[in-house]
Structure formats: C-alpha cells, structure tokens
Symmetry: C2
Subunit: 216 residues, 2 copies
C-alpha cells in the first residue's frame, strides 16, 4: 500500500500555505532548508514529505515556488472542488464560517445546520442555515461528503450518526469526545480543551526546567 501518513499530509498543507505567501512576495525559488526553517521542520523532512508529491527540484536552484505549490495542490486537492457542511452555528461555528468564507475556492463551506430555529433560514456569509431535520435532503442535493461538527458534546454523537447515515465519509470534530464511527469514515479531531490543558501542563514543566537550570 502506498499510503501517505497523516503527519505528512498535515505538513504538506503547511508547506503549501508558506509557498503561497512566498509567491505573493515574488520569490521564485526556495531550498529545502529554507522551507524547513519557515515550517519549523528539518530539510530532510521537507524532502521526504515532497517525495510522494512527485515534483523534483533542481540541485542548484532548489524548488520553484509556484510549481511546487501547484504540484502540492494537484496532489492534495480534489480535482473539482469540495463542499463541506457545518453543523452547529454557535460561537465556534460562526467563527469558522466567517474565517473560511471566500478564502479557499477549492474547499468551501456551502451549507450550515442548527437546531435552533432562531438561526434557521438566515444566511451567514452567503451560506444558508438549515434546520437539522433537513440534513438528509440538503446533503444529498448538494452532494456533500464532509462535515464539520461544532455542536455541544452531548449532541455530537447523534449528529455524527445522522451525517454518516446521509452518506458523509469524513468529519472534522470540535466536540471534546471520541466519536464511534464505522470503519469507512475518517474523523479528524480538534480538541481545544485538551490542547489547553496540555499547554498548561508543559508550561509548568518549562518553568520548572528554567528554574532548576538557573540554579544549576
């Protein structure tokens, strides 16, 4: 199986974003060690990650910024754009919608759902909000295969079940629970609470280290 690791895909996403900024600054070429420094990685890792992409740089010029960016896009993106549904238009859901509105042409939040009738019907950022009852119909009509879950934790599992039942194959879950899904469904987790507690723990460790280092 020539399967690409999740870590590599994550870094490719980051490399592409950096290349995009470089392209805006009219930078033509870049070496692996330069890209690595900007991405917080090593030169060897960058070269390794780029292997499956199939783009080759020149030993003297490095990588062509524009070409590499396009190659990564060709490798990662859907050929014809991808529509995403967002479920839960609370504080976090609205922040996400606002952020992604009009940003990526190839990966767009096209519909949103909530079960709060006061939100239903309104359009945020040109994106209509439907009631959760209409999940099945709207997802089928728009041929959506991926969804973002931004509902409270105690509703997340049932929302996921519904989505999968409607033919969803991939989820980005912000609710702080582990979802039980069938084997064919991919789930990406963002657990802000856990990240917060991790950061708090390692912050304390960093302080301890600094103190003991000072005294030593």
């Amino acid at each position: 199986m020539n399967s690409i690791s999740e870590k590599t895909i994550g870094r490719l996403s980051l490399y592409r974003r950096i290349l995009g900024e470089l392209a805006q600054k009219q930078t033509q070429h870049i070496y692996s060690h330069e890209l690595a420094a900007m991405a917080g990685a090593t030169a060897a890792q960058v070269r390794r990650d780029l292997m499956p992409v199939g783009y080759s740089g020149s030993p003297t010029k490095g990588y062509g910024v524009r070409d590499l960016m396009d190659s990564i896009s060709k490798f990662m993106d859907a050929p014809c754009g991808q529509s995403v549904a967002l479920v839960g238009l609370g504080n976090l859901g609205r922040a996400i919608l606002t952020y992604f509105a009009g940003r990526r042409p190839n990966l767009t939040i096209t519909v949103t759902f909530d079960n709060d009738r006061s939100r239903v019907g309104k359009a945020f950022h040109g994106c209509r909000c439907y009631h959760t009852e209409e999940l099945q119909k709207v997802i089928a009509q728009n041929n959506i295969r991926m969804a973002i879950i931004a509902v409270p934790a105690d509703h997340a599992q049932s929302v996921a079940d519904n989505l999968i039942n409607c033919g969803i194959y991939g989820l980005l879950n912000f609710a702080p629970i582990s979802l039980r899904v069938p084997g064919h469904v991919y789930v990406e987790y963002i657990d802000i609470t856990t990240s917060m507690e991790k950061a708090a723990y390692f912050t304390r460790r960093a302080i301890e280290r600094a103190k003991s280092g000072k005294s030593a």
Copy 2:
C-alpha cells in the same frame, strides 16, 4: 529524565473528562477496557498512560472513578490554579473566552488583549480587555505564565515575541504559522486550516476506498 510524552498528557486530559461525566452519573468503578472504548483507545494504552499517575486500580473492581479522576488532576494540574492571557478578541478569541468562562476553576482566562481600541476597556464574561501596549504591566501584575494567541497570522510572531519578553513560558497558538521561540518556551499548535485540509484529503481517500471495496 522521567519525562512524560505529549501524547500521554493529551490522553490523560481526555480520560479525566470522561471520568468526570461518569462521576456525574454516579458510576463508581471502571475497567481499563471500558475507559479505552470511551476514549477511542486500547486497554493496554490506558493502563500504560496511567502508570506515571501513580494510581493503582484493583484487578477485580477496576479503577475507582472518583479517585482516578482526582489522581489525574493532582498529577496534571497546577497545585494552586493557573491564569492564562488571551491575545486577540476576534471571532475565535471571543468563542474561546465564552467557552472557558467559569468552566475550569483551575485553569482560567483572566485577562485579554487586543489592539483594536473599540474592544479595549470592555469586559467580556467578567474578563477585562486591555490594549496590547499594557501587555508587560498587566502580565506582571497578574503573574501570568501562559497565553493564547488568536491574532491574524502576520501579527502572531511579534505578539509571541512580546509575550515571551514579558516572561511567558507557554503558548497555545491558533495562528497558522510556525512560531520561532527560544528553547525554554513551549508552544502548542492548533491549526484549523491544516486540520480542515487533512480531513478533506482523507475524506476523499475514504470515498475511494469505499468505491474500490464495493467493486472488489
């Protein structure tokens, strides 16, 4: 050095949250395989993660829910509470502040900063917003050692520099860039854009697998 891995700390945070819910339901005891199922892990991994915590379960009753939760808290949390600063009160920053307000007594966002004067001075959720100019003073006064960065990407590095200059040892960074920080500072990254693209990629892969599996 008997250093604990980041992965383990992340899962301990999740275990504790699950235990909290179990405690509310008056569940007294739980086995490693039950906790593993709820956390999306394996029984062996749960037991391994619990080793550094130092709490021992009984081979017949399993782990005491309340006791294990307390042991994890004693292991992970600061003995006397921890204050966190939030920089950037945009859409994401406000969502985070709203979510954490009054939720965790031991880990609290106590001050916020923005450079938009229209936000400064107001209090969101009983938490005053200061102008970034006052960073040094306010952080010193409140003895803050950790901060959340929720400003646009092109300001994130300079904000981080300022924070570190004020004595911050740990960061939770939502800006989609890699921060350059001195070795004594810990950084935890949440890159929503990358997670989104990862999910999109593996969603497509899941669809392909399902199709080829169907035809095979």
